[in-house]
């Protein structure tokens, strides 16, 4: 009995999330507006990528051939139109982990602790641990599913017309958006946001803390990406290093997510008993 209690203490994954309870419904219903906004954002991002590759690319090529006599500047401007849009999509989706962190710290956890609706759930037969587990599991599932779809579509879109794009694999957003690091950053935002919400217990300060923490994590990793994998010979960085570097960064970000989530559960249990 006691060992069962202890083993549950810091481990959210053993808290159990029986899907036959109404908890997932509750989480989705309470945060329906956020779910809709996120869904529209994701669909718009995916739609833009497909539109650019399938429709815009051909038109861009026609305009480039029309540039024939006028020189390089015309050609460049047309290409920037195409590559710029795709780049914007990857940038927005990549940095959307800030929005995830703000949502988790504010609406998901901080506001509910601030206005007492969390306590309402805790006295409606849901233990604080199970409450937090459901609050994190439902968005985490959506982030993994949505993020995976985006990464696959982006990889396709990014390689479709390399000749029309001016970027390369080392660009910050391209580097993250072509693999699981994108999903990891989303989950990290969720965990860090939840921790900030549980500790600060007031939505606005928690949002600030969570976004600040995510900036530190992300900025430091971007600055030190070069050091994540040793260079070849005298400082050459071949493209074959993409996956090792990417997976190391993914691992670090997931590590931060797991630690933040664990501490959030620990802090919540310590206070509520």
């Amino acid at each position: 009995m006691n060992t069962g209690q202890l083993s549950r203490a810091g481990l959210p994954f053993r808290a159990g999330l029986p899907l036959n309870t109404g908890l997932p419904w509750t989480v989705l219903r309470l945060h329906r507006a956020a779910l809709i906004v996120w869904g529209v954002f994701l669909l718009a991002a995916l739609g833009t990528l497909v539109w650019e590759v399938e429709i815009t690319a051909d038109a861009v090529r026609e305009r480039i051939s029309a540039c024939a006599g006028t020189g390089g500047l015309c050609r460049l401007r047309v290409a920037i139109d195409y590559g710029g849009t795709i780049s914007w999509v990857s940038t927005l989706v990549y940095y959307s982990f800030f929005a995830v962190a703000a949502f988790a710290a504010g609406a998901l956890v901080g506001r509910e602790l601030e206005n007492g609706t969390a306590e309402l759930a805790w006295t409606q037969s849901v233990s604080p641990t199970r409450w937090l587990a459901a609050k994190l599991a439902v968005p985490a599932l959506l982030l993994v599913a949505g993020g995976t779809v985006f990464v696959l579509v982006f990889r396709w879109a990014w390689t479709a017309n390399r000749d029309l794009m001016g970027d390369d694999w080392t660009f910050d957003d391209v580097f993250a958006a072509r693999g699981p690091a994108l999903v990891a950053y989303g989950l990290c935002g969720l965990g860090v946001g939840a921790l900030a919400g549980v500790v600060v217990r007031r939505s606005l300060p928690a949002v600030a803390v969570a976004c600040g923490a995510m900036y530190l994590v992300n900025h430091n990793l971007e600055v030190h990406r070069e050091d994540l994998w040793p260079k070849v010979g005298d400082g050459v960085r071949p493209e074959s290093h993409y996956w090792p570097m990417h997976l190391v960064e993914t691992g670090i970000v997931l590590g931060v997510a797991v630690v933040a989530t664990g501490v959030a559960f620990w802090a919540l249990r310590r206070r509520t008993g």
Binding site: L30, E119, L120, T123, Q124, S127, T272
Partner: protein, 368 residues
């Protein structure tokens, strides 16, 4: 009157709570026992720890010292069996009333009583107004309706709730109704209600009291209601806790508490030998509330105090010794025999040795 065999709804031993950001204890060395099946008023001035005590009992915060047991176990393990309504009546503002009730149903699938919840939320007229398309008595999960039907002014009284109303658009009293509906829908064995009446109009208050008394009579539900308005709960409760100084100062059946006190009026003179709760003189005349079951007869005019007089006298004199008309159970001690032997006589406190009597009662505490 001896109901000791009924089990314990709520029990605290040496309970203490201090908040990190505030100086001093909110609760300190607080011990009491509430037998199951009682309707208990938790009264006391603002800031004496009523809300803290209820939050501790509801397992929302951890005690700094001591233990609190709910329905014979820890608050965390009793979670499904008690209901709690916080003073601020927190509800998710973005939901409709119907969605809020469905939230209660989803989180209490095993025991949700939809009919009762809807009766509390929408009022007794509701079923007639909306008919069977909403009033599903089988207790099945309600659809997340955003109904905006208007049943007409004849059937629903002014200010009544409709399923499609948003929580954020409700008044304080209307929110209270929804919060109470969630509590009732759970079909709890114990209700912990923090200032449930504060925002209710007199009509809604009567309705709520009726619902609470009905629930208690029908299902043996124990009800604990806090209030800083003493008169509000008089005549409704059959158990009383007066909080002060971070602990329970008076506890027990209000009739027995009253019977243990006498109001004396007479020429000023020495009262030593009596436990004087409060005395004030005007000239040579002295009025005193003393704790005794043998009122002095030598020239004093004696009277039974009203509940309000009794409570106010104790509030004005923090030095008055504590009194429990039922002995709090000793935790983890085999010896159950209190000083009264538990034969039906009310218990006594060690602090005063005063034995209450059930014979005489003041007219104020005649229950309806």
């Amino acid at each position: 009157m001896n109901r000791d065999g009924e089990g314990t709804a709520l029990e605290a031993v040496g309970l203490g709570k201090r908040y990190r950001r505030r100086r001093g204890h909110v609760l300190r060395d607080c011990s009491f026992r509430l037998p199951a099946g009682r309707i208990c008023a938790l009264v006391g001035p603002n800031g004496t720890g009523k809300s803290t005590l209820l939050a501790l009992a509801a397992g929302l915060t951890r005690p700094t010292e001591g233990t609190v047991r709910v329905l014979g176990t820890t608050p965390a393990r009793a979670r499904e069996r008690f209901a709690y309504v916080a003073q601020a009546k927190p509800l998710p503002p973005q939901l409709t009333v119907a969605a809020t009730l469905r939230l209660g149903a989803e989180l209490n699938r095993a025991r949700w009583d939809r009919t009762t919840a809807e009766r509390i939320a929408y009022g007794p007229e509701y079923g007639r107004a909306y008919g069977p398309e909403y009033g599903d008595t089988a207790g099945r999960t309600a659809p997340d309706l955003d109904l905006d039907l208007d049943p007409g002014p004849d059937l629903v009284r002014e200010g009544a709730l409709r399923p499609g109303d948003r929580i954020r658009s409700l008044s304080g009293g209307q929110r209270t109704r929804v919060a109470l509906a969630l509590a009732f829908g759970k079909r709890p064995e114990l209700m912990l209600l923090d200032e449930p009446m504060a925002d209710l109009d007199p009509l809604a208050r009567r309705e709520l009291l009726g619902a609470l008394l009905g629930e208690a009579a029908e299902h043996g539900t124990t009800i604990v209601m806090s209030s800083h308005v003493i008169a509000e709960l008089e005549g409704v409760c059959d158990h009383l806790f007066l909080m002060g100084g971070g602990r329970i100062r008076l506890g027990g059946d209000p009739e027995r508490l009253l019977a243990a006190h006498t109001l004396l009026t007479g020429p000023a003179r020495d009262l030593s030998g009596h436990t004087v709760v409060e005395s004030h003189g005007t000239g040579r005349q002295l009025t005193a509330l003393i704790r005794t079951d043998h009122p002095p007869t030598d020239g004093w005019e004696t009277a039974a105090p009203s509940l309000e007089e009794l409570l106010l006298a104790h509030l004005r004199n923090p030095e008055a010794p504590d009194l429990f008309t039922e002995e709090p159970e000793k935790a983890d001690e085999g010896d159950e025999a209190g000083p009264t032997g538990g034969t039906g006589d009310p218990g006594t406190t060690a602090a005063t040795g005063v034995t209450g009597e059930t014979g005489e009662t003041g007219e104020e505490n005649v229950r309806p």
